[in-house]
């Protein structure tokens, strides 16, 4: 019985659609962490999977375009707009973290990558990649010990021991 209750409590809720900061009334914000069942089902992670059908996708594309042209501030602005539409999107935080790292703001990059991890769906490969991002951000801040820990987390995830 307890097991059943726990399973119910943990069951992965489907991603709510759009709404963002402007809300979808009464819908639970979707946090999509690790599934509880014996054999966790891995969820694919990329922009399309994370932001299925969301208008924020268009903004991610524009951000990428701006970034390729070296216009970092425009790219940042697009991503922040996407974030206000999809505040629970791990992917948007990941993109922001990578952008900040490129801009040389390792401290922000670390925080944003950790937040991406917090919201990450169950996918060890993706999570490992985020831990690598955290590690790089920590290295750039001179935090060797923290970087090593983050690398270890990434490796554990890749080995499937996490």
């Amino acid at each position: 019985m307890l097991l059943a209750a726990m399973l119910a409590g943990c069951a992965t809720t489907p991603t709510t659609g759009t709404g963002g900061d402007y809300g979808t009334s009464a819908s639970s914000s979707s946090s999509r962490s690790s599934p509880p069942s014996g054999e966790p089902r891995q969820q694919p992670v990329d922009a399309r999977a994370d932001l299925q059908g969301s208008p924020a996708l268009a903004l991610l594309d524009r951000a990428e375009g701006a970034r390729n042209q070296g216009n970092m501030s425009a790219a940042g602005r697009y991503l922040e707009r996407a974030l206000s539409m999809e505040p629970d999107s791990s992917w948007v935080y990941r993109q922001l973290a990578r952008l900040r790292l490129e801009e040389g703001d390792a401290h922000s990059a670390e925080g944003l990558a950790l937040r991406a991890l917090r919201l990450a769906p169950y996918n060890p490969g993706y999570q490992a990649e985020l831990w690598d991002l955290v590690a790089t951000a920590r290295e750039r801040q001179g935090d060797k010990e923290g970087a090593r820990e983050a690398r270890e987390r990434a490796q554990e995830l890749r080995r499937g021991t996490a």
Binding site: A5, G9, D21, R115
Partner: protein, 774 residues
């Protein structure tokens, strides 16, 4: 201000009158020489004055502050009423087919909006026509130009900041001034503008003739240049003395500057009326003040009203003297017709229109002084005045106009109900934040929100009372091997000896002590004695450390009384402190500005989102659950009168000693709001958190689109049935059992008899979980 300046110079000539008897050739020559020297000196002085003022003043524009642009996309929660309210506030005019920028048409739930377009650090938004369908309380579909489904309305200007003085302009360069306005202006005020050199003899003669005819002074015969001089440097009274200085100055102005520069300065400088203590200068600001729209969007009859005002802004005030103003306006239209600027048909059509001024105080411009104050402070903190002095900065702020209006209304409605007319001097403050990004969406610092003055939201440092309790509980939950929500604490009197003082003996609000109870109930029922015991056990320094982690920057004295909120914070600081609780442990600096652009729309500075993990998510989730119960069952349950139970929110009430301060701080997934109600003189206000602040919070949150807090525990937290002692695992349906979110380290190994029926299975699961997460 310089307008009152420099009338002393000519005064010395008065002596001449008594000197007449002493006239002789030599003396006359001397006087003449002195006079010439004085005149030359005067001219040099005036010349410097003309240039200095013209160069430094006309072109120095204040920084303009904008609200966040309204994002439109399918799925955004937006009621039809709110959509129309936004369009109304932004002065979109209703017109079939939405033909021009700044217009819209509405047909049931379908809207066509012709946006105005704007520049931004991401390139901005073109002016385009949007097809929008609303349905089910949200945007059902949206078609923008080029097949996009994403668009923004231009950011609404909400104020301006001038580093030097409080004067303000909505600066309009000459090439954006409607040509019709220029024609009307020259036709009515200065027909020879392009021929004269600052002074028009023809104009003077015409004026003199008119004056003789009327038998009194009815026309000044001033050129635009002279009027500009008057506006710039001189007082408004018509004295001969002023005239004497005005003439040379006008000529000097024409010597140094082109006709276009003078015309542009005139249009942006001319005095058009008074808004309380604020003077309305310039056609751009005049258009906003009287019609709520940019000058470029005004129709001929509105332009004529503005031009008509030049003859006497208070005499022809279209709000207070509508008949007079209408008559004057139609005269301007007729003159425009005579000059060929309007066709006969247009004259006929526009003469029939009403004045169409907007009611005073309805414009969003200058409506949010408390928020603008925050922007000003954050700018001053981050930029030296030189940077702020850069001409015409555009500051993009985080203000959400709908949230701001909702917050103002909630505070006003409640205080009018509690204290009609403000006889008891009850006032309050509200801060609304988007917790994930740290964006400040609204700041209210007065029940009369448009009034400037004491910024309670930013400056009223008041004891936070029980708002501190979540921090005390969090400090305990951070030691999961010792504390969980199920841990029993005694709600019994206690006495803490203090050095050089009476011992500290806190009481409960009801003056009762309820005995042993789980920490969960201590928080939900806000029990002082139990919480004080818990806090003393956890340790004052540990509690202070947690408060610092949450973002409290003030010195925290290690007195036991801090456990019950003797610490004073401003509403804004409380929002900072609750922000990591709302985001599951991430701290994000609160920002009121996203971008600073120069006047050409080029980015100068950005305030990017930054975030830092300051607390592990597990204890924060557990605390959030208890804070949800504060709203669902505890001291904050008044919220449910307005907000449906399906919307999961969390919060905490606070009341200071003798009911001086009422607080409520709480959050959904997308809004964090802090409400304070009390008196400025810190006297007992007879308000508690439940009665004084909760209703404001509830009304505010209910009028904004909310996303529920996630109910799904993070990895590492599980829901466990616990027996009443808080030391044994129990089971559903067992006597006195309660279900709490628990960290693995808090879950006891043993179960009570009732719960042990399926103990083995449970143990297996626990082991599985532990293995999984460790």
């Amino acid at each position: 201000m310089a307008k009152k300046a420099k009338r002393a110079a000519p005064r010395r000539r008065k002596k001449k009158a008594s000197a007449r008897r002493w006239i002789s050739g030599r003396f006359l020559a001397k006087v003449l020489a002195v006079g010439l020297v004085a005149m030359a000196a005067g001219l040099i002085y005036l010349d410097a004055l003309v240039q200095e003022r013209f160069d430094s003043h006309v072109w120095q524009l204040p920084a303009r502050v904008y609200a966040r642009p309204v994002e439109l996309y399918p799925g955004r929660v937006l009621s039809r009423a709110d959509m129309l309210k936004m369009l109304e506030l932004m002065r979109y005019r209703q017109a079939p087919g939405a033909p021009t920028p700044g217009s819209y048409s509405v047909n049931g739930n379908r809207l066509i909006i012709h946006t105005r377009g704007f520049r931004d650090s991401d390139g901005g938004e073109p002016s385009q026509r949007l097809n929008l369908r609303l349905g089910g309380g949200e945007i059902a579909s949206l078609q923008a130009g080029q097949g996009g489904s994403l668009a923004r309305l231009e950011p609404m200007q909400i104020g301006s900041i001038h580093p030097g003085h409080s004067e303000d302009r909505v600066y309009v360069p000459l090439d954006r001034v409607p040509p019709l306005m220029v024609k009307m202006l020259l036709a009515t005020e200065d027909q020879d503008f392009y021929e004269h050199h600052g002074v028009s003899l023809r104009g003077l003669a015409r004026a003199m003739l008119a004056n003789i005819k009327a038998g009194r002074l009815v026309q000044g015969g001033s050129t635009l240049t002279q009027q500009l001089v008057k506006n710039f440097w001189l007082t408004q009274d018509r004295t001969l003395l002023r005239k004497l200085v005005e003439l040379p100055m006008a000529v000097l102005l024409e010597l140094h500057y082109s006709k276009e520069q003078i015309l542009e300065a005139y249009i942006n400088e001319v005095y058009l009326g008074q808004d309380g203590s604020r003077s309305i200068h310039g056609m751009g600001l005049g258009a906003q003040f009287y019609f709520g729209r940019p000058l470029e969007e005004l129709e001929p009859h509105q332009l004529a009203t503005l031009v008509g005002l030049l003859k006497g802004p208070s005499w022809y005030d279209p709000r207070r003297r509508p008949e007079r103003s209408l008559k004057r306006r139609n005269t301007v239209l007729q003159v425009a017709r005579q000059q060929g600027a309007l066709s006969e048909e247009e004259l006929h059509r526009f003469s029939k229109r009403g004045l169409e001024v907007v009611p005073r105080g309805e414009s969003p411009l200058y409506a949010f002084p408390a928020f603008i104050d925050l922007v000003r402070r954050q700018l001053a903190r981050d930029y030296p005045p030189e940077v702020l002095g850069v001409d015409g900065l555009r500051i993009h702020s985080t203000l959400d106009v709908l949230a701001q209006l909702a917050a103002e209304k909630a505070l006003r409605d409640h205080l009018e109900n509690k204290d009609p007319g403000g006889k008891n001097h009850l006032n309050g403050a509200v801060v609304v934040v988007a917790p994930t990004q740290g964006d400040v969406l609204a700041v209210v610092s007065n029940r009369r929100s448009r009034e400037h003055g004491f910024n309670r939201a930013l400056d009223a440092v008041r004891p936070i009372g029980s708002l501190v309790k979540p921090a005390v509980v969090l400090a305990a939950l951070e030691q999961p091997e010792k504390y969980s929500l199920a841990t029993i604490v005694n709600d019994e009197p206690l006495s803490v000896p203090l050095r050089n003082n009476e011992p500290w003996q806190p009481k409960n609000f009801d003056n009762k002590s309820l005995g042993p109870m789980p920490i969960h109930d201590v928080l939900v029922r806000s029990r002082n004695q139990a919480l004080a015991r818990l806090g003393m056990e956890v340790g004052l320094s540990k509690v202070a450390e947690t408060l610092k982690t949450l973002g409290v920057q003030r010195d925290i004295p290690l007195y036991p009384s801090i456990l019950l909120g003797s610490l004073g914070l401003t509403p804004f600081e409380v929002a900072m402190m609750y922000q990591p609780l709302a985001t599951g442990g991430f701290s994000t600096p609160l920002r009121s500005i996203t971008d600073v652009l120069d006047k050409d729309g080029q980015p100068i500075a950005r305030y990017p989102i930054t975030t830092e993990e300051v607390l592990p998510q597990e204890p924060v989730f557990v605390l959030q659950q208890a804070m949800q119960d504060v709203v669902d069952q505890g001291t904050g349950r008044g919220v449910r009168a307005k907000l449906p139970a399906s919307v999961k929110v969390a919060g905490k009430t606070g009341t200071s000693d003798n009911f001086r301060d009422a607080w409520f701080a709480g959050f959904s997934a997308n809004h964090l709001a802090v409400v304070w109600v009390g008196r400025d003189d810190n006297s007992p206000a007879g308000v508690s958190g439940s009665s004084g602040a909760v209703p404001v919070w509830a009304q505010l949150m209910a009028s904004l689109p909310q996303r529920s807090l996630s109910q799904k525990p993070p990895a590492g937290v599980e829901w466990v049935w616990m027996d009443p002692s808080g030391t044994l695992v129990s089971g559903e349906g067992c006597d006195g059992a309660h279900r709490y979110p628990m960290l693995p380290a808090s879950i006891p190994e043993e179960a009570d008899r009732c719960g042990s029926r399926d103990g083995d299975k449970k143990k297996g699961v626990l082991q599985w979980f532990k293995g999984w997460f460790d």
